[in-house]
């Protein structure tokens, strides 16, 4: 067997002190199989060694939370004995190397996390970040990732109902592909991963094991360098058809009571699934690797344990139920093999060819994984940029067109038209709105789902950015009329060994924590992706937040489109007019500077609760939150969606550009009939919520006094064409 040298230890990504710890735990030198197992279990990806200390500070509980972080996905109660199960996860590095398969297997992996817990997936979402639009690789990456996301979800028949996409130079060498799945289960039939029952069979189901993706988990924990191209062969290939069969087979078996515990084989494959199950159950597991279904010949124990072949699950069955389970899996033409049993030794013992090939204590390896308190420095908040520090637009019409056709604002339709967003027949708010809304099949209820983050805010000031990301999801859910319930977080950052990057992480977590507490909106699941750096340059800190909310009556849902001519347009919330980090500043002045808009969580909650109540009371005909680009962008989006213009009469103390384009938070644009508007103004006064009448809907133009007169079609042209133009290969 391979001799363990210093080089081999270092190739496995273990530091000297970590290797010392390995020697201490074992009391001997590990063999190569054992070293490989330590290496993946203690990788950043599996162990959260840099982030754990801070993740623990996030609020994770509420009366409606059934299961918080630590399981395959988070679980919240949505009433009537039903639960929503959801999580978001990154697949960044694989997607950069092979965009189609990287994105596809990311989607496959997160769906498995959700159905492992007994839920049928009902919606997929994503959060994507690419490099600057004119970077030579961007078009190839966008095209590959989008077809990969669609390819997997479409084939599975789970609608991909929305998401968000950014372009920025900070992602030139490290794109982000974060995929989220929401599933539906009965609260009395949720499955967990703790192994139990000494002697119970350990069962492998799904696809066969091949040599794909070996060391994917350690790859996700190392920076890229120019040699990354050579890592190509380790990328996994997804098979959505097999996963569809696996989904149906698992749900069929889950309808019986044969399963004790179940865990998806995701990153670090059989290693992390078996260790996690044993560790959570406080038991040992013995595996006979000869019985693992294999796709390739002469696979070594090392390869079997570290393979990241997709579409596989590990489960512990009740004794004597193997036959029943096997019949189901064979009906679905999937592999089924008893590969081991639960033991009382507290050790993971692996045999192959009659020999013991690894013998490791479970608890020290899983629990005593390194945990670091990495040094960090706080990012000081830059000075705000006042409206008076920014020049006024020479021509409001040209300015608006430039912003509506900019990379941050332009329509993402080119992307979501490649996703089947209607299959399952319950999508009642399609992509392009504030949040997607899917009905809970056969009920009056619906779930609103959104993903948000504004990385440029997080980079400027992590605390504000972290709070803003959470608040924006809350606001987007609210704008549909949903009551926000909980979030999942996907924390994408650079190298945590650099104090300023670690400081970004700590800052974002602090902001998120404040927002979660203030909005009664806990974190129930999440994922961390660090080392998103190329040649020493990190990405913008990107804590992507996925939020879900509940509409008890789906017909109360609001949408952003202007509905009828002659309705009153109102703005909820107040503007300071600060322009720091705004799209206006970036696109018109070419400056990415200043403090992000401040986040006042008490105001956020008060304004949001007012809006939601008004939606439920049937008082609003349209609702849209104000975010990227500011008020005039929000109004333009409402006009485009409804194919209906507006006459604006915005009385403001602020300079024109600040009134139109500042990105002050906690604001919404709503419409109502003129009679209802009177009533709303009174109610707002009583509730101490700023509400101002700013115009009337009608005809097919946006008019604003002498400042602006522009047809909806002119806006639509720049807004719709930007992305298709970017993606058109010259000469095709």
């Amino acid at each position: 067997m391979t001799e363990i040298t210093k080089e081999i230890v270092s190739e496995h990504g273990l530091s000297e002190s970590e290797y010392e710890e390995v020697l201490k735990i074992l009391g001997r030198v590990p063999n190569i199989n054992e070293l490989g197992i330590f290496s993946v279990m203690w990788s950043e990806h599996c162990s959260y060694k840099s982030s754990k200390k801070w993740l623990k500070t996030l609020p994770t509980e509420a009366p409606w939370v059934i299961c918080g972080p630590g399981e395959n996905a988070g679980v919240v109660d949505i009433g009537d004995g039903q639960a929503a199960i959801f999580k978001m996860e990154s697949h960044n590095h694989p997607s950069y190397i092979e965009p189609y398969q990287g994105a596809a297997t990311g989607v496959g992996g997160i769906m498995r996390d959700v159905f492992t817990m007994g839920a049928r997936p009902i919606a997929n979402m994503n959060a994507l970040r690419f490099g600057r639009p004119d970077h030579p690789k961007t078009r190839h990456l966008v095209s590959g990732v989008v077809s990969g996301v669609g390819g997997y979800g479409n084939c599975m028949g789970i609608p991909t109902v929305g998401g968000e996409t950014n372009f920025h130079a900070s992602y030139d060498g490290n794109i982000l592909v974060n995929a989220m799945t929401v599933g539906l289960a009965d609260t009395d039939n949720i499955f967990y991963s703790a192994a139990a029952g000494i002697g119970n069979p350990v069962v492998y189901v799904g696809s066969k094991t091949g040599r794909d993706g070996i060391h994917g988990a350690t790859m996700a924990s190392a920076e890229f360098d120019d040699d990354s191209e050579e890592k190509r062969p380790t990328v996994q290939v997804g098979d959505p058809f097999t996963e569809k069969l696996l989904l149906e087979a698992c749900l069929e078996l889950m309808a019986t009571d044969a399963i004790v515990a179940i865990q998806d084989m995701g990153a670090a494959g059989l290693t992390s699934s078996s260790f996690e199950m044993a560790d959570k159950g406080g038991v040992g597991i013995q595996l006979d690797l000869d019985n693992v279904p294999m796709r390739e010949e002469a696979m070594t124990p090392y390869e079997i344990m570290l393979s990241e072949s997709q579409e596989r699950m590990l489960m512990i069955l009740k004794p004597g139920r193997e036959g029943e389970a096997k019949t189901i899996f064979e009906k679905w033409e999937l592999d089924f093999a008893v590969i081991g049993k639960v033991t009382d030794t507290g050790r993971m013992v692996l045999t192959m060819g009659g020999e013991i090939v690894a013998d490791l204590p479970v608890a020290p390896l899983a629990d005593s994984a390194p945990e670091y308190d990495r040094p960090w420095v706080k990012t000081e908040c830059p000075d705000p940029i006042k409206a008076s520090d920014v020049s006024a637009p020479a021509d409001l019409k040209k300015t608006l067109l430039k912003i509506m056709g900019s990379s941050d604002i332009a329509s993402r339709k080119w992307i979501w038209e490649q996703y089947d967003h209607m299959v399952m027949g319950d999508t009642i708010q399609r992509p392009g709105g504030d949040a997607a809304v899917v009905r809970i099949h056969g009920t009056d209820k619906a779930l609103a789902i959104t993903t948000d983050c504004t990385p440029r805010y997080c980079y400027a000031h992590p605390e504000t950015g972290g709070a803003q990301a959470v608040a924006e999801t809350w606001r987007n859910l609210t704008a549909t009329g949903a009551l926000p319930l909980a979030i999942t977080d996907c924390m994408n950052f650079g190298n945590p060994e650099r104090p300023e990057i670690m400081g970004q992480f700590v800052g974002c977590i602090e902001g998120m924590r404040d927002a979660c507490i203030a909005l009664d909106y806990p974190v129930v699941s999440g994922n961390v992706s660090l080392y998103n750096e190329t040649n020493g340059t990190g990405i913008f800190p990107t804590p992507a937040i996925g939020g879900i909310g509940l509409l008890k009556q789906s017909d109360h849902m609001a949408t952003l489109a202007f509905k009828n001519s002659g309705e009153v347009i109102l703005v909820v919330g107040e503007a300071s007019g600060d322009m720091g980090q705004s799209i206006y500043l970036k696109e018109i002045e070419g400056r990415e500077e200043g403090a992000p808009p401040s986040v006042d969580l008490a105001i956020e909650r008060k304004n949001g609760d007012f809006v939601r109540d008004a939606i439920h009371a049937g008082e609003l005909t349209a609702c849209h939150d104000i975010s990227d680009g500011g008020l005039l962008v929000a109004i333009s989006e409402m006009a485009l969606a409804g194919n209906c213009g507006a006459d604006l009469d915005l009385v403001s103390d602020l300079p024109l550009h600040a009134a139109c384009f500042s990105e002050d938070q906690a604001r919404y644009i709503v419409t109502a009939t003129s009679e209802t508007a009177e009533k709303l103004l009174e109610k707002a006064k009583l509730a101490n919520v700023p509400l101002q009448l700013i115009g009337t809907t009608g005809h097919n133009e946006l008019n604003f006094g002498t400042e602006l007169s522009i047809s909806i079609e002119d806006i639509r042209e720049v807004y719709s064409n930007w992305l298709p133009d970017l993606m058109t290969v010259p000469g095709n």
């Binding site: 028949g157 959505p240 058809f241 996703y419 027949g425 009642i428 399609r430």
Partner: protein
């Protein structure tokens, strides 16, 4: 009135089809598994959308050779009405029940959106609720919907009124710009010669209520169920 929906491994619009039929028929259709060799007595067979057998090899090819499809083809020959949507349309062409083949979309991309369709030729049973020449709106969601057939067959389809729907704009203009996937003559759906089979790429079962964004699909199913009852 009885209906049956065929389910292959990888079908994923089977539930949507069931819901649409239920809504118009008032009771559930039978769901028939691909490995079954017997079809129940039925007045309508629906072959739903999805990715049967992963659409590996060619879309619909493996499903076209499954045991249940031999039974479906037999029923087709004796005149049982068959509605084949999306992947179902692909399966129907693979079995030869309908002419032509569905190729990869000309733009190479999966396309999911509502489209306008001109009702090209009437067949009371399937589209009796609509006038020839009027437009209806159904969603599409496919990667391989580019209808191909040879010149001779194309001329026959046109000449004998066997084209059900063509991709158009909302005023019924059938042009290259409204041809979303490169289909010959903008064909979105066709009948067989006997008129008992309709194959179409768009999904009428997806627009069956205002909440879902439209009701042309409901009109379609109401008429279909009505005419078969």
């Amino acid at each position: 009135m009885k209906a049956a929906v065929i389910v292959f491994p990888g079908s994923n619009c089977d539930r949507d089809m069931k819901v649409a039929i239920e809504q118009s028929m008032g009771h559930s259709p039978a769901m028939v598994w691909h490995a079954d060799t017997d079809l129940p007595e039925t007045d309508l067979i629906a072959i739903p959308g999805g990715f049967s057998y992963g659409d590996y090899l060619r879309c619909g090819a493996i499903a076209g050779n499954s045991p249940i499809m031999r039974e479906v083809v037999k029923k087709a020959k004796v005149g049982t009405p068959i509605l084949a949507v999306c992947n179902g349309f692909q399966v129907a062409t693979e079995t030869g029940m309908l002419p032509g083949a569905l190729l990869r979309n000309a733009n190479q991309k999966f396309i999911c959106k509502d489209v306008d369709l001109k009702v090209a030729a009437n067949n009371e049973r399937f589209v009796g609720a609509f006038e020839t020449g009027q437009t209806v709106r159904f969603p599409v969601a496919h990667h391989d919907g580019n209808f191909f057939t040879d010149d001779e067959t194309l001329a026959r389809l046109e000449g004998e009124g066997l084209i059900a729907f063509k991709y158009s704009d909302e005023d019924g203009n059938v042009t290259d710009t409204t041809n979303i996937n490169g289909s010959r003559n903008n064909i979105a759906g066709i009948y067989n010669e006997a008129g008992n089979i309709l194959g179409l790429m768009p999904h009428p079962e997806r627009l069956i209520s205002d909440q879902l964004g439209g009701t042309d699909g409901k009109t379609f199913f109401d008429n279909l169920i009505n005419s078969l009852s």
